[in-house]
């Protein structure tokens, strides 16, 4: 079977510098791949190229075997969930309004939407009654759970998560990490998850893609990066992260 997400020579330069050098990559289906690297290395750019929020200068991002282009993007996006750092919930809608937005536009009836939302709230460990609230009266962790439910409503096979836990305090973060991992495992989704935190990467990753200044330095299981680094920077990055982790834990 083809990979669910594949990059073929995808490149994108920004006028002010930065972006992604021509990249060819194929992500393991049904697994969680963590995009790792220092700030500004192009992790978000890569995700945006996958869901078509950015157009490549060259090459093609293929999702479900289809190149992501202007005309194909809207339909493809309904098959991939996307969650960003602060959740991106619409403030004018309640949690339920957010969650129901796309399904109701697609013509689902209310009962079906509620049923699906209930199942996903269970999975995301979100009390369903919180869906009646507006985002402004939810905590950061609750908002991320609602955003996750929203992304999963149409049962996409692919999830793109751009630092979904970045804005949370460590306690909530650890809790949500555990819940998310269980949810991914239960759903067997293909997940691309961006983080610059090595602890989080080791928690989630089946595989890791390490980026630096718009280039992929290494792609493989985290152990492979530790044991057979493809570049001196890989070791430097990992050990810098570890010492940070160590200091934090001490």
């Amino acid at each position: 079977m083809d990979a669910i997400v594949e990059l073929r020579g995808v490149a994108r330069r920004f006028p002010g510098g930065g972006g992604l050098h021509p990249t060819t990559l194929s992500f393991k289906s049904g697994a969680t791949t963590v995009l790792l690297g220092p700030s500004g290395c192009g992790k978000s750019t890569l995700l945006r190229l996958v869901n078509g929020l950015l157009r490549p200068d060259a090459g093609d991002a293929l999702v479900f075997g289809t190149p992501v282009r202007e005309d194909t993007a809207p339909a493809l996006r309904r098959r991939m969930g996307y969650v960003i750092q602060d959740g991106g919930l619409f403030p004018h809608l309640t949690g339920f309004g957010n969650v129901a937005l796309l399904p109701s536009w697609l013509g689902w009836d209310d009962a079906r939407i509620r049923e699906r939302a209930t199942v996903l709230c269970d999975l995301a460990r979100l009390p369903t009654n919180l869906l009646e609230r507006y985002p402004q009266s939810l905590s950061g962790g609750q908002r991320q759970r609602v955003a996750l439910v929203r992304a999963l409503m149409t049962d996409p096979a692919l999830l793109l998560l751009d630092e979904p836990l970045g804005a949370l305090d460590p306690m909530v973060r650890a809790e949500l990490q555990r819940d998310l991992r269980e949810a991914f495992a239960a759903l067997r989704k293909t997940v691309l998850l961006v983080t610059h935190d090595l602890g989080e990467a080791s928690h989630f990753a089946d595989e890791v893609v390490l980026l630096r200044e718009g280039r992929v330095l290494q792609h493989g299981p985290l152990e492979a990066l530790e044991q057979t680094p493809a570049d001196p920077f890989v070791t430097r990055f990992l050990s810098a992260q570890k010492s940070l982790w160590g200091v934090g834990a001490a």
Binding site: N51, L53, P74, A75, L76, R77, R78, R79, Y82, I84, D86, G88, L89, F90, P91, H92, L93, T94, L101, L102, W105, Y134, P135, Q136, R150
Partner: protein
């Protein structure tokens, strides 16, 4: 948009069918003559409407040419100065030929002359020894309060000044009726007036003699469309029959009956018809409540139809402008330019296109309402956080759903604020609609200024103020209804 189109269509077709329409200029004598003309046509069995105090010569003449009105009272001197330029006002056959070339007929003179004169308070005139206009040359310290029309027209102040070599230090343009008040209070000393003005006697003024015979012949006539003779022969005959029936004392008495005795024009005209022409005419005056109700309806209809049309155009324009910044700045620029056109000028510009009445008023209010709504739509849409815009996009919502379910609701507070601004501006500006015969609260305000009647002014001003407050309240309520709860504080 549909409402506007309907209004326009109505105005245009109304020009060519339906009742005979008499127009009148924006001063008492003009309204009285309009009322007389209306009532003689009515007495002749015709269905007639009187569109009162539409404005000055330019407005009335254009309305007559365009067919929005069928007749109005004019003066020969004005015709040669403003309409058939350069003709001799004394040569009536030549005038008649020139007018008929434009499809307009002219009655024989009605019998009185209303020429310009300069008036000075009697006491001041005695103290300074003023009897003729020439005498004014020795008193450049006197302040002149002149009507805008007199200052603007070639045969008015500019010609008079050079003919007499006058060089007063202070000349101000003022509403004609306000000028009398300025004279009474001593804030000004000289004003232009008409030789049949009731105020000459009631305000104890002395009309200075035109010793150089500068002012031309200003005999009153009625102009009517040549096609009226075919459409309503009875009416055309009745107008022609007014020739020679109104002499100067009669006209001054009628003016005084309105301005000094505070009787209505229709009442005074009806009395003239029954005593001088032996024609029966009725002048039913509606009660104050009925009048205010009718004005309220006219005012609201103008504001609402223009506002709805503006929303229907401006929100899509705003959406478009927000997406294409270059087109957007063009659109905003154009709407901004419209905003800078003074309302009076805009109304006059619209008359040749839309005739008189509700059409130009609604069109002007519509044009003024565009900018605030377009601008706030653009501001609201551009103000949406990029992360929210991306979320909507990434969700896979089609463009329409994205606009209707996410972008417009998020921009709603800003859009509503724009509509509220437009509505409040419209409620105020719509009072000017009375200048083009659209009615509304401006009608009693204008009549009140003309008649120096505070009660009549308040009959328009108080409801207008109340309507502005009600508008604010309605929008407060609308904001609670339409702005999603998640976007409000608390």
């Amino acid at each position: 948009m549909k409402r506007l189109a309907l209004t326009l269509a109505f105005t245009l077709t109304a020009c060519h069918a339906g009742p005979v329409r008499v127009g009148s200029k924006n001063f008492t004598e003009g309204v009285l003559l309009g009322e007389v003309a209306t009532q003689v046509c009515g007495a002749a069995g015709e269905h007639v409407e009187h569109r009162r105090q539409l404005g000055g010569t330019a407005v009335l003449w254009r309305a007559l040419r365009a067919g929005s009105i069928d007749a109005y009272a004019e003066y020969t001197g004005t015709i040669t100065a403003e309409i058939v330029r350069g003709a001799d006002p004394a040569d009536l056959p030549a005038l008649r030929r020139a007018l008929s070339a434009q499809g307009i007929a002219m009655t024989a003179p009605l019998g009185f002359e209303n020429t310009f004169a300069l008036g000075v308070p009697e006491g001041l005139a005695a103290a300074r020894g003023l009897a003729t206009i020439t005498d004014l040359r020795a008193h450049p310290d006197l302040t002149l309060a002149l009507s805008h029309e007199f200052i603007g027209r070639a045969d008015g102040w500019p010609g008079l000044r050079s003919a007499y070599g006058l060089a007063p230090r202070d000349v101000r343009g003022m509403d004609h009726d306000l000028a009398y008040r300025a004279l009474a209070s001593g804030a000004a000393h000289v004003t232009d007036l008409y030789s049949t003005d009731a105020e000459i006697a009631s305000n104890h003024l002395r009309a200075l003699r035109d010793d150089r015979h500068y002012f031309p012949d200003y005999r009153a006539v009625i102009l009517y469309r040549a096609d009226l003779a075919a459409r309503s022969p009875a009416c055309a005959r009745a107008l022609d029959a007014l020739a020679g029936r109104i002499d100067a004392p009669t006209m001054i008495a009628m003016n005084a009956a309105v301005r000094v005795s505070r009787r209505t024009e229709s009442d005074v005209a009806a009395e003239f018809l029954s005593t001088r022409l032996r024609a029966g005419a009725t002048a039913a005056e509606p009660s104050r409540i009925a009048r205010i109700a009718a004005r309220t309806w006219e005012h609201l209809a103008m504001v609402l139809s223009s506002l709805l049309a503006a929303i229907a155009c401006a929100v899509p324009l705003g959406v478009f402008a927000a997406r294409r910044p270059r087109v957007g700045s063009l659109v905003l620029g154009a709407a901004g330019v419209l905003q800078t056109i003074p309302s009076l000028a805009l109304l006059v510009l619209l008359i040749p296109l839309l005739g008189i009445g509700v059409g130009p008023a609604v069109a002007a209010l519509f044009l003024y309402s565009l900018l605030p709504v377009v601008q706030n739509t653009v501001t609201g849409l551009r103000g949406i956080a990029p992360s929210l815009r991306e979320s909507a996009e990434a969700l896979g919502l089609p463009p329409r759903a994205k606009l209707l379910r996410v972008e417009l609701p998020l921009a709603m507070p800003s859009i509503l604020a724009g509509v509220r601004t437009a509505a409040v501006i419209s409620v105020g500006t719509a009072t000017l609609g009375a200048l083009v015969g659209a009615g509304g609260y401006g009608q009693p305000i204008m009549t009140g200024i003309r008649l120096d009647s505070t009660a009549t002014i308040l009959e328009g001003a108080v409801p207008a103020a109340v309507l502005a407050l009600v508008t604010q309240a309605v929008f407060g309520w609308l904001e609670r209804r339409l702005v999603p709860r998640g976007l409000r504080d608390g």
